[in-house]
């Protein structure tokens, strides 16, 4: 299925061989989730980890279920907003669930 040229194969095998080295320097070889990536875009206005320093509400202490419900209500227009409706409309159900779950985990970790 993978149409890798010779160089590509060599590169991948090289990559696999050196993963242990990279792993020594990094905590764990793991993919960064889409939920986390989307969450970091929330941080720009709401503060890092959703802890707001100012007039925009903090979003770090909302359960995953409640956050998903709120985002869906913003998206449908059921919940009135200045800007959040315009943002929430950009995400699928799945993306909303993933970002809400990420915030839910953060809450448990006490960030």
């Amino acid at each position: 299925m993978f149409l890798l040229g010779k160089t590509g194969k060599a590169a991948l095998s090289c990559l696999a061989g050196t993963l242990a080295l990279a792993g020594a320097a990094t905590t764990q070889a793991q993919e960064i989730s889409r939920g986390e990536v989307i969450a970091t875009t929330c941080y720009t206005c709401h503060g890092t980890y959703g802890v707001s320093p100012g007039a925009i509400p903090s979003i770090n202490e909302i359960s995953a279920d409640r956050m998903a419900a709120i985002l869906q209500a913003y998206r449908s227009g059921q919940r009135v907003a200045t800007v959040m409706g315009r943002h929430a409309s950009g995400y699928t159900d799945e993306e909303i669930r993933e970002v809400a779950q990420y915030f839910g985990k953060l809450q448990k970790r006490g960030k």
Partner: protein, 434 residues
């Protein structure tokens, strides 16, 4: 990472292939002595792009060795600098230190200036004469100006006719000139052609100067001589100007003689219509045409357009391997050149770099941009968008999302958005520098 094949992944590792992605430029045969050491990332520039990237590299992987090189001890933000002109903020309110990056996030902040990039040796040269090695480099130098693109407007001229499009001494200079201006004088502002830093910045500046004039110099006028036909959030701004500052502001688009060809700083004159029309101003603010920051150009990262093409997923340069370009210098598809864009791209780039070091797939990009503008301290408007990468590898706005504040919104919504504009500033500066 649905939809990404292994082939795509190898492509993401860059032109030089997977080996160099791990910082092992010599290939598998020769494992350098430093292989067990933490990978080294050097970040050039400490603005919204650079500072955010340095912080998030350490958040995503606390074992990384991250050095940020920035020539200034503190950072003065362009967002909020118009609020200084409007009398709403002092310079100290928009000045940020790098203390938290050092103490809280473990970033090695070096105050020096990068003068050269050696991609083959993977080093950067500093003004102090030192050399710093990297496994991956992030270049985030913001913009520089195309001096003399407007005849007579060079760096020396900007000491008399400020651009104030890099915040700091230029902001203070423009403010002093506005304070010294007589009541009944004319303030001329000349925005540049696209693309440029902060598209809604010029009309917000007009608004904040109008706010200051209304309170202190109510007989004064503002003339916008624009190199473009229209400007960001134009309808919303013009409606608000009509309501708040009636008769004070005149907008001249390029086709009606708005494009400035030449300036004479001594007589405070600007020339439009191929020199046939002259406008004299008491205070003149020229925002010159722009390009990628000097070090990006010197490092061969910019193409003939003056901006830096990148892989819009990882923001690795398409011209120089192992070097990522972020912030205003990069071509980021449909995303505007803004602090918000730079902050979002920086996090995605940090996630990509950490993933590439780990040998795992960088996550799918998802970005947001929100540009708030204040028309008065109690009148805010915004434009927002959510961005994804399309099948051609270009970042584009998600259809059905984003857009402007509504045209005929109730007054309360303008008041709320004015509050959120200021909340946004607190949020983004905390997320970047805190």
């Amino acid at each position: 990472m649905a939809g990404m094949t292994r082939r795509d992944f190898v492509k993401l590792l860059g032109a030089s292939g997977a080996a160099t992605a791990l910082g092992l430029g010599a290939g598998c045969e020769t494992v350098p002595k430093s292989a067990k050491a933490a990978p080294r990332v050097v970040v050039v520039g400490g603005g919204f792009g650079g500072a955010t990237c340095a912080k998030y590299l350490r958040i995503y992987d606390p074992a990384l060795n991250v050095t940020m090189i920035e020539q200034n001890a503190n950072f003065v933000t362009c967002p909020g600098s118009n609020w200084v002109l409007g009398g709403m903020r002092a310079m100290q309110d928009i000045t940020h230190s790098y203390d938290a990056l050092r103490s809280k996030h473990g970033v090695n902040v070096v105050h020096d200036r990068v003068t050269s990039i050696d991609a083959a040796k993977r080093t950067v040269g500093l003004a102090s004469g030192k050399t710093v090695e990297y496994d991956r480099l992030v270049v985030s130098p913001g913009i520089d100006f195309r001096w003399n693109a407007i005849e007579g407007y060079d760096e020396a001229a900007s000491e008399l006719m400020p651009h104030a499009w890099k915040a700091g001494a230029q902001t203070v200079l423009l403010q002093k000139q506005l304070h010294a201006m007589r009541d009944g004088g004319t303030f001329i502002i000349c925005p540049p052609p696209m693309p440029f830093r902060c598209p809604p910045g010029p009309p917000e500046r007009v608004s904040m100067v109008a706010h200051y004039f209304k309170a202190h110099k109510p007989r004064s006028k503002i003339l916008i001589l624009d190199a473009k036909e229209e400007f960001s959030k134009q309808g919303l701004f013009m409606d608000a100007w009509e309501e708040l500052y009636p008769g004070m502001i005149e907008f001249v688009p390029a086709s009606k003689g708005g494009k400035v060809q030449r300036v004479d700083v001594k007589t405070r004159t600007v020339y439009t219509d191929e020199g046939l029309t002259t406008h004299k101003g008491d205070v003149i603010n020229i925002i010159p045409p722009q390009r990628a920051g000097n070090i990006a150009v010197a490092g061969g990262l910019a193409n003939e357009t003056g901006w830096c093409p990148v892989n819009q997923h990882t923001f690795e340069s398409t011209r120089v391997p192992n070097v990522h370009v972020i912030g205003d210098s990069a071509v980021a598809g449909a995303m505007p050149k803004s602090g918000h864009t730079a902050n979002n791209i920086a996090k995605m780039t940090a996630a990509s770099i950490v993933s590439l070091f780990r040998g795992v797939r960088p996550p799918s990009p998802s970005h947001v941009n929100t540009c708030y503008s204040l028309v008065s301290p109690e009148y805010g408007i915004s434009i927002a968008a959510v961005y994804r990468i399309n099948e051609k590898g270009v970042l584009e706005g998600v259809k059905g999302a984003g857009g402007l504040s509504p045209k005929d919104a109730p007054h309360l919504q303008r008041v709320q958005e004015a509050g959120y504009a200021q909340g946004w500033y607190q949020g983004i500066t905390q997320d970047t520098f805190g």
